[in-house]
């Protein structure tokens, strides 16, 4: 573990009395490797290590009897702070319906997460409506309908020959008429560099003005996470992130990269394929998971 590695680094220096700035740099190199192995973005790691170095110098780690422990504590604190110090909740509209839009790359877990969110909100006494705005992927609409059936939540669909913008608009009217106070829009997976499909998302946003735009990110995403998050955020001004497939053994450094580059909070984590596997995000737990 990183903790053991750092203890090792500082043990080697014990015989020399106080540790120097150079020794601290050696220790931080171990932290850098740990973060890169955890898939935190290269540039995010660079900035993070610089900040930690300054703070460590400022906190007189060099004078400490247990420099290794102090460095780990600083790293952990800084990481937790960066991840977002508090758990973020879903915004509810003062004027219903509350519209939530799920966006992200292909296969990240949008449709499944839409179902999970619907289930969570229904348990809280709300009346969600799931909306099938993916008109491209084979059987995408069917997939959402199956989830809706399993959860006893209505699914609004207009088939795959109507534009997602029109489907979204019609869904809002449908919700108003049927008393659904939450509308969850499931959109097709797309590349952040696909201009036409990214434009489609902008048009949906303009049309129905969602109060929540959630970027669904696969927790095992590597260095590319910053490119994706930046583009989606630039175009849509995200309100939050859902980090999926955290039930695996990925360290999940993408979470740090996405937060660092967009400033937007991770609101939920997906912890399994079943529809009850959605949990609130715990920044401190994520920080220690990333450090490994």
């Amino acid at each position: 573990s990183l903790g053991e590695k750092l203890q090792g680094v500082f043990k080697k220096l014990k015989g020399q009395g106080k540790i120097s700035e150079k020794d601290l740099k050696t220790a931080l190199r171990e932290v850098r490797v740990a973060l890169l192995e955890a898939d935190v973005n290269y540039k995010v790691v660079k900035d993070f290590i610089n900040n930690v170095n300054e703070r460590a110098l400022g906190q007189e780690v060099l004078e400490s009897l247990t420099p290794g422990q102090q460095v780990i504590k600083i790293v952990n604190d800084e990481l937790t702070k960066l991840m977002g110090g508090f758990q973020s909740k879903l915004e509810i509209s003062s004027k219903p319906p509350t519209i939530i839009m799920m966006v992200g790359l292909q296969g990240s877990g949008k449709t499944t997460s839409a179902g999970k969110l619907g289930r969570l909100l229904k348990k809280q006494g709300r009346r969600p409506l799931l909306v099938a705005c993916d008109i491209y992927r084979p059987a995408a609409i069917k997939q959402l309908q199956v989830l809706g059936e399993q959860l006893d939540i209505p699914v609004f669909s207009m088939g795959n020959k109507t534009s997602p913008v029109d489907i979204a608009r019609a869904a809002i009217n449908h919700a108003a008429y049927h008393g659904n106070d939450i509308v969850i829009l499931d959109t097709a997976g797309r590349l952040h560099i696909d201009e036409a499909l990214m434009e489609e998302l902008s048009l949906i946003k303009k049309q129905v003005n969602p109060i929540e735009i959630l970027l669904v990110v696969d927790a095992m995403t590597g260095q590319d996470a910053v490119n994706v998050a930046e583009k989606f955020n630039e175009l849509l001004d995200l309100t939050g992130v859902v980090l999926t497939k955290l039930d695996g053994d990925t360290r999940g450094g993408a979470a740090l990269s996405v937060k660092a580059v967009t400033g937007k909070p991770v609101k939920f984590v997906g912890m399994g394929e079943k529809l009850d596997a959605l949990e609130p995000f715990h920044p401190d737990r994520m920080a220690s998971r990333i450090l490994g």
Binding site: G109, A140, G222, K245
Partner: protein, 278 residues
């Protein structure tokens, strides 16, 4: 990154950065740059542009310079098992592969081995229709081993050349799901001994270092013979496959470059390495 620079520590750092940003992994990147340093010394390399050739050579050395073909034998039933974690592109890649093999004149059939995920069978059936190949399936919730068994019987009866079997996405950390995969393999080996020619692990190019653990665990459980690297039409480079080839000798056979039927290409090591540095 190579143009007009002089060979110094700063250039080596820049190279390490490019490799890491391509998901090559910090340890593999450090090793590669170390080899580069040694070759610069021993071969007295002076021009930064020459470094490009050196690092391309070193990575090709790992990846292999030939494209790795699918191990299919004409005149008999060949079975391809498709495995991987959730959402990486297994079902879509099967549709693309069926199209490719059919256009090469082969009789292809698909087995809907994902009986778990919502509308997974429907999704594969749409691909079957698009490509014009039969899909063997049961109802959602059926035992995947039973579907595999039926698919093999049907493939033999209809003199199929290639039977491609779809499986449910599963995280490699789920022991019971990996056991299910082993069971599917056993059924294939029992009912069609010698027919299983390829077990292809589908990896998403956007995946980071976790891909190594995936390759390792799936490799041990299912006897993976090659990789399909998908979503290379994005901005991710898929550099993890270098470490996977170095550690586990798993070659990338095919790459996915889009969501349409035709968006499957043979893996070309030269193109892959070149893309790492653009």
């Amino acid at each position: 990154v190579f143009s007009g620079k002089k060979i110094d520590e700063e250039l080596f750092e820049e190279l390490e950065e490019v490799l890491i940003q391509g998901d090559v992994g910090v340890n593999t990147a450090i090793d590669l740059v170390e080899i580069l340093r040694e070759r610069v010394k021993s071969e007295k390399i002076k021009e930064a542009e020459q470094l490009r050739q050196v690092i391309v050579e070193e990575i090709i050395n790992i990846m292999g310079e030939e494209t790795s073909a699918l191990n299919l034998t004409p005149g008999e039933l060949n079975i391809i098992l498709i495995v991987g974690v959730n959402g990486v592109g297994k079902t879509t890649s099967i549709g693309k592969l069926a199209y490719k093999l059919k256009s090469e004149g082969k009789r292809v059939m698909l087995g809907a081995g994902d009986t778990f995920r919502a509308a997974a069978i429907d999704q594969l059936k749409v691909w079957g229709q698009r490509v014009g190949v039969d899909v063997i399936s049961h109802k959602e919730g059926a035992d995947p081993a039973a579907v595999v068994y039926d698919a093999i019987q049907a493939a033999n009866a209809r003199k199929i050349d290639v039977l491609i079997i779809d499986t449910a996405g599963r995280l490699h950390t789920k022991v019971n799901l990996m056991e299910e995969l082993k069971k599917i393999r056993r059924i294939i080996d029992k009912e069609a001994s010698g027919a299983l020619k390829e077990v292809l692990l589908v990896l998403d190019a956007t995946t980071g270092q976790n891909a190594l653990a995936q390759a390792n665990t799936f490799g041990q459980a299912a006897g993976v013979t090659g990789v399909i690297l998908t979503k290379l039409d994005g901005t991710a480079k898929g550099g993890v496959v270098i470490g996977i080839k170095a550690e586990q000798n798993l070659p990338v056979k095919l790459v996915g470059v889009g969501e349409k039927m035709e968006d499957l290409q043979v893996f070309r090591p030269q193109d892959f390495v070149a893309a790492l540095f653009t």
